[in-house]
């Protein structure tokens, strides 16, 4: 899925190659790029399942506006992965509904 040599932009400048975990699997991405981009380069498109109807959701706006891409990152739910930069050894998990946090801690916006 990565664009190796773009006809206009050439090569893309990326950070260091790092490993991170996604639902227990070890994957590779570039440090500093949005988590969602690293996931997509590994073919992962589903980021979460909705609370009520258990429907899959993935990236929609890619600029942090729609919250479709939220996941559990290092144990913290509701992280917008399309804007959150990837760091080495991050633990990324598919979010089920509102995630593992206590109901009272979660914003319903």
């Amino acid at each position: 899925m990565r664009i190796e040599d773009h006809p206009v932009l050439g090569k893309f400048e990326k950070g260091q190659k790092v490993r991170f975990s996604f639902d227990g699997k070890s994957l590779e991405g570039f440090e500093g790029e949005p988590i969602a981009i690293a996931l997509r380069s590994n073919g992962v498109l589903i980021h979460r399942y909705t609370a009520r109807r258990n429907e899959p959701r993935g990236v929609f706006c890619a600029i942090g506006r729609c919250t479709d891409c939220i996941m559990v990152v290092n144990g913290q739910p509701n992280i917008r992965t399309c804007v959150e930069p990837l760091k080495a050894d991050m633990v990324v998990e598919t979010q089920q509904g509102r995630g593992p946090a206590k109901e009272s801690e979660v914003s319903h916006a």
């Binding site: 664009i3 932009l9 498109l45 899959p56 990236v59 706006c61 890619a62």
Partner: protein, 364 residues
């Protein structure tokens, strides 16, 4: 509370142009942008711009963006990123969230240049992973270097749909078709011709009926519509695609203006609900100016000129420019705007802007 002579909300082409023009004339300016990089939409645009040389045609959006940033630095404009403006209140007071801290700031003059958001069309399956906005496709391919999909259906044949369609080809994706419910292609003919030459079929008077797939998009059903936009049974066509890209127009991001009490009006040609403003880009709330897509959806080049006019007007009102110079400078900008708002697309926008300026005549 931090005080400034002028605050610009949004570091897209409109906001940066306003800031540079004012700063050049001596105004002390700060620009806030919620993004972590400045330039607004410009940095996603890798195609050569249309228009005249004066308007930097043939240059690519991201190069224009870079030139703007250099100029901002040279003129002493302060650009603060990761800064979301939450609200504009009385007498130029503003709440801005920088990082995770909310700060109160105040300015004598404010330029709101917040751009626009994408419209959405709901259809069965539209929430499936693989249905994305056109802006998202651009962000992925042109900023992060990743293909949004291998085979894409583009919904919408305006400039955004056509240009992003072409950029998907450049990114190495296949574009199965560009569809539009309208009977005629919405975007500029030159762009459409280029995409058609690359082998992408245009299906006019067609809409999307459904996206298929359980976990992700695996295909789409497209159906013809009649002259009253009703689906014609039996005309369904199936497309095997993994991505459906939605490019059905933009709407101005006017929340801050509504909050500040600016009078709004509905102008369909300019993208819907927009702030009433005069020739100097000033709204009905004194001291609050608008420029770019937030004051009516147009193009980067018109956004830049509107920004410059707002910047000049502010320099003038703050006493950095005399009446004569201001009138002369504004006239120069208006003239180049006339050039941009020509042709059948441009004239409609020019008329709509004249309508606005008639509601609210300029101060000088």
């Amino acid at each position: 509370m931090l005080r400034y002579e002028m605050i610009c909300v949004g570091a897209g082409p409109a906001g940066l142009a306003a800031a540079i023009e004012a700063a050049k004339n001596g105004v002390q300016v700060v620009v806030f942008d919620e993004n972590d990089r400045p330039g607004g939409q410009l940095f996603k645009q890798i195609h050569k711009f249309f228009g005249s040389r004066e308007h930097r045609a043939k240059e690519r959006g991201f190069n224009i963006g870079q030139a703007f940033l250099d100029q901002a630095r040279e003129t002493g404009v302060e650009v603060t990123l990761n800064a979301v403006v939450l609200g504009i209140y009385e007498n130029g007071a503003m709440n801005v969230m920088i990082g995770d801290q909310v700060k109160q700031v105040r300015a004598q003059k404010i330029v709101v240049a917040t751009g626009a958001a994408e419209n959405m069309v709901p259809f069965p399956g539209w929430t499936l992973p693989g249905v994305i906005g056109a802006g998202a496709a651009q962000t992925m391919a042109n900023i992060h270097g990743i293909r949004p999909g291998n085979k894409i259906l583009m919904v919408g044949s305006g400039n955004v749909g056509i240009i992003v369609g072409y950029q998907m080809l450049q990114a190495g994706s296949r574009v199965a078709a560009i569809i539009d419910a309208a009977p005629k292609i919405g975007g500029y003919a030159v762009h459409a011709a280029k995409v058609a030459r690359a082998g992408v079929p245009f299906l006019m008077s067609h809409t999307i009926k459904q996206a298929h797939g359980k976990e992700c998009v695996t295909g789409a059903t497209v159906i013809q519509v009649d002259s009253s936009w009703q689906p014609v049974a039996g005309t369904e066509k199936e497309f095997e695609v993994d991505t459906i890209c939605i490019a059905v127009g933009l709407n101005p991001t006017t929340q801050l203006l509504g909050m500040a009490g600016c009078k709004m009006t509905h102008v369909p040609t300019l993208g819907g609900r927009i702030p009433v403003h005069d020739l100097d880009q000033e709204t009905t709330v004194k001291g609050i100016y608008v420029a770019g897509d937030v004051s009516g959806i147009e193009e980067a080049s018109t956004a830049i000129i509107e920004g410059r006019i707002a910047g000049l007007a502010i320099a003038h009102r703050l006493g950095y420019m005399d009446d004569g110079t201001f009138r002369k400078e504004r006239e120069k900008q208006s003239q180049s705007m006339k050039g941009l708002r020509s042709g059948s697309h441009g004239e409609r926008r020019a008329k709509a802007k004249e309508y606005l300026n008639a509601i609210m005549p300029a101060a000088i």
